[in-house]
Symmetry: C2
Subunit: 554 residues, 2 copies
């Protein structure tokens, strides 16, 4: 191994991690990184925050430079240098130096392809206007920072993670912002109800939100850019941020005949080897195993990229001690102003689309002990496999402690744990940090109640007049925030004495503020012979999310 030459195409996340790990495992290897851009190993995920000024120091985003990679890791880094073709037979790559235009061939013993992914730019009229930006690297960020100023109008197209972060950060900089999304919700990976709080937070902060509509064409005018949406709606902008997704930069892999997946990702095995055993690939350009089902997935995130790079280096240098990349789960989180939402594993819509059996509950609680100041409401949805109870996915939205719950649930999914296991997670509890029964325990309880047949849930308010809808909230609350369907108000504490008000021959739906009392009511009525369904998650009609939640605990 003493004379191994590693050539790394792409020096940001996966490529830099690969090279760093390779150097720690082998001092004698020759390791060259070629990177098309001028920077290596920069903090992609921080780019929006510099635009908005939340990160003030641009230097902080340049995690490493070619010089530090040289001095710390003895890496030979060539920036502004593009790999243009792979000659697999001779094990060499043609490189073009973007500044000089010169090209050269570099040989390799092992090649790592970590080219990343590019923002999508649909071929629609006006797309090449200079006022339309995408955000991939520090130069894009600098251009956007230079082009934006207080009072300008921005249209952000695409309400995914980057779109929401950019909308928030442009607003922070004083621009008026319109957000446009083709799906009927923001953050399309989430199930729609779990994304609603993000949407209301955007609107609360006077960001315009247009859902279920896409960009048809851009009409340039001298003073501004007119955005024509599919619906005919028109939004005028001083600049546009296009954040509708990314496509893997797999052209040279394709040209070299490496196997690609259905969406153009490089296919790799558990050790990140492509269909050529001397060529590895990692990061946004590859597809990997899915960690929930025996299928493939592509998760264009920094965490998986870094760890895939590491796995490939281990495979080259650690021999039998190398461990495969176990696949990606798809964990994501976004903060917009005061609201945070996150997802891990599979969503309900994805399970539905794949025709996979699942069950789900949604619960509400405070993010820490409700008696300790500052408790904020939080909503948690879990999905599981009905037969086994195995967790398939989870989503959380609220204000505080969202990342914690997502991380615990991601860990539980990776551990192959079940909803029953959630009941008895022994999580850290002191009043500033949690509750004696954390919302994750409550989700386990609710899921088991459902599996055990103790409760039936509905997520839709009934419209059939035969159904008796029993609103068990206190009378003043029920009157101040009436349910959107006709109800019989029977405040919970009076329910046992009021059974005569209900017709036992007709079905009942119970409802309340958070879905807890309606469950309790359903237990009383079920045991008294009624056919009862509890309205899941509650009306939340009286919740001002910016004030502490007062949850019933009985």
């Amino acid at each position: 191994m003493t004379s191994t030459k590693l050539l790394v195409v792409g020096g940001v996340a996966a490529g830099a991690s690969f090279a760093a790990r390779a150097r720690r495992l082998c001092e004698s290897a020759e390791i060259m990184i070629v990177e098309r851009g001028p920077d290596v190993s920069f903090a992609n995920c921080g780019l929006p925050y510099f635009v908005g000024g939340e990160i003030a120091a641009r230097d902080a985003l340049a995690v490493q430079t070619p010089a530090t990679l040289q001095s710390f890791l003895n890496l030979d880094v060539r920036t502004r240098c593009e790999a243009i073709q792979i000659d697999r037979g001779k094990k060499r790559v043609e490189l073009r130096h973007l500044d000089s235009g010169a090209s050269e061939w570099q040989s390799y013993d092992k090649l790592m392809l970590a080219p990343g992914a590019s923002p999508l730019r649909p071929p629609i009229p006006g797309i090449d206007d200079a006022r339309i930006f995408t955000l991939r690297n520090l130069q894009d960020m600098d251009r956007i920072a230079a082009a934006t100023d207080t009072g300008m109008r921005a249209v952000v197209i695409g309400a995914g993670f980057i779109g929401l972060e950019m909308a928030e950060q442009l607003h922070r900089k004083g621009l008026s912002v319109q957000l446009v999304e083709l799906q009927k919700q923001v953050i399309p990976p989430l199930d729609a109800p779990m994304a609603a709080l993000l949407e209301s937070e955007l609107r609360h902060n006077e960001i315009g939100v247009t859902l279920g509509d896409g960009i048809a064409r851009f009409e340039p005018t001298p003073d501004f850019l007119r955005c024509h949406l599919n619906s005919g709606k028109v939004l005028d902008a001083d600049l546009v941020i296009l954040s509708i997704g990314v496509k893997p930069d797999s052209e040279i892999a394709a040209a070299a005949g490496l196997e690609l997946g259905p969406r153009g990702h490089v296919v790799v095995d558990g050790f990140q080897r492509t269909s050529d055993p001397d060529i590895y690939a990692a990061g946004d350009a590859v597809e990997t195993a899915d960690r929930v089902f025996d299928s493939k997935t592509a998760v264009p995130m920094g965490g998986p990229a870094n760890r895939q790079g590491r796995v490939a280096a281990d495979h080259i240098f650690l021999g039998e001690k190398a461990r495969p990349y176990p696949g990606s789960l798809g964990t994501g989180i976004v903060r917009v102003f005061d609201v945070v939402a996150g997802i891990t594993g599979w969503s309900e819509k994805r399970l539905q689309a794949a025709g996979r059996p699942y069950d789900t509950v949604t619960v509400n609680d405070s993010h820490h002990a409700s008696y300790y100041p500052g408790a904020k409401p939080l909503t948690l949805k879990v999905l599981w496999e009905p037969e086994s109870g195995r967790l398939l996915g989870a989503q959380v939205c609220g204000y505080e402690g969202i990342d914690k719950r997502i991380d615990v649930l991601a860990t539980a999914i990776l551990g192959g744990m079940t909803v029953e296991d959630l009941c008895h997670l022994e999580l850290a509890y002191a009043p500033p940090f949690g509750s004696a029964k954390d919302v994750i325990n409550l989700a386990g309880f609710a899921a088991c109640n459902r599996s055990d047949g103790l409760v039936k849930h509905t997520t839709e308010l009934p419209t059939d007049p035969q159904v008796q809808v029993v609103d068990v909230r206190p009378k003043p609350l029920a009157e101040a925030y009436p349910a959107p369907v006709p109800v019989i108000n029977i405040p919970f504490p009076t329910l046992r004495a009021s059974l005569g008000k209900l017709d036992p021959s007709r079905p009942v739906v119970t409802l309340c503020a958070f879905g807890k009392m309606s469950y309790f009511a359903s237990r009383i009525l079920t045991q008294n012979g009624f056919d009862v369904t509890s309205y899941s998650g509650g009306l939340k009609a009286n919740v001002d999310p910016r004030t502490p939640a007062k949850m019933p605990t009985a």
Copy 2:
């Protein structure tokens, strides 16, 4: 089951949870709670925070009252009512009403013992002085609140979770506070190095900390109480808080001939049944299975208590659907001023004392992306079984995100996961929440590096002059914050060119600020034929913990 009569002794955590769950499962059961104190279902864990004023509303701590338990759950609650003996033959309990002095017998079909635990009061001279307080319930809290005022001197004896919370809260109220602990560290369940940050935070806030010393006797004077410690040290106090631990209130269980464990806890099976199948027990008074090893444990915390009560109710009413209590892990967390420390599973000292094989690493990193404002340093220690890699325990200390890491690691332990699994936990990453490689991933990497023989660690600086100690920090740092042993300073970037400065025949220990560069240096030196050990965790000599950490990331 229609006429089942449940009698519940103790109405705080386990007892109230048992009764609430029982009611949801069975409307027709007769359920009576007897509680010695005047309150039921109050928030024990919030008591210190009311004393300090951090929780302002006393009402918030009374989660339920006898009246709400009646109206919501149709429970018959008797407060100020003590269970004084159990007649197992006749299935009845003698109760004494503390206000009237009257006594009566109440029968049961199933009895739940949830009496809790009492603060220890050692029989030392002066212990009965009225200025010595323990904290178990709202009345204790009220007495302490009434007895304390700005400018007073408090001595807190016992630096466990409650002791530290009380020290902080009394300081918050303006008292001058001295903390005394028999062990040589605060929070004895932690390994000493993981408790050091708590200690320095206490001292930073001018709380006196006396370690390795215990209370010998109290000498009352008219104006104050003189505390004589074992060492001869004397501390004068206007009041004393005694928080040296608790003992299970298992007297009536013992008197009834129920099986007790070695420390006086009631022995129960997986469904919380005592040695009498009609008598259940739950909460601080019982011992349960340990979740790490096949052994017994007693965890006097609210979370386990609540869930044990629920399990017992399920066993009575759910038949085959009832699931056993899987045991307790021992997860705990404490905040003192700005510092937080937590533990889950077994500590190193506990593993050592039990003679169980283990291995361990300690890593440092920022609690979220270091390039995003507000990143704070965090130290994480994991322990695992060498043979299998199975996680046995973890401890975390720092400023932010401690609860999250503890919860993830608690979940991983409960899922039977290994240190290898930690490498590939896919945790939520956006700059405000985490890092592309979270500190938990780093702990997995470090553990695997150790298992794979890529690095040897030491936690002690060598004193043998034969050993070459190589300090790889930058020269200005190494000079400003010199290591406490003689070193050769070879700044990391110059190491590869400076091998000639070292004698290959003598062992080397590498050291740095955080333990990361010393590992990198050990890799370089190892591959160049040196016998190298890396100083684990780093010197941290230059860390001002209140400023963002700048961690090397190469």
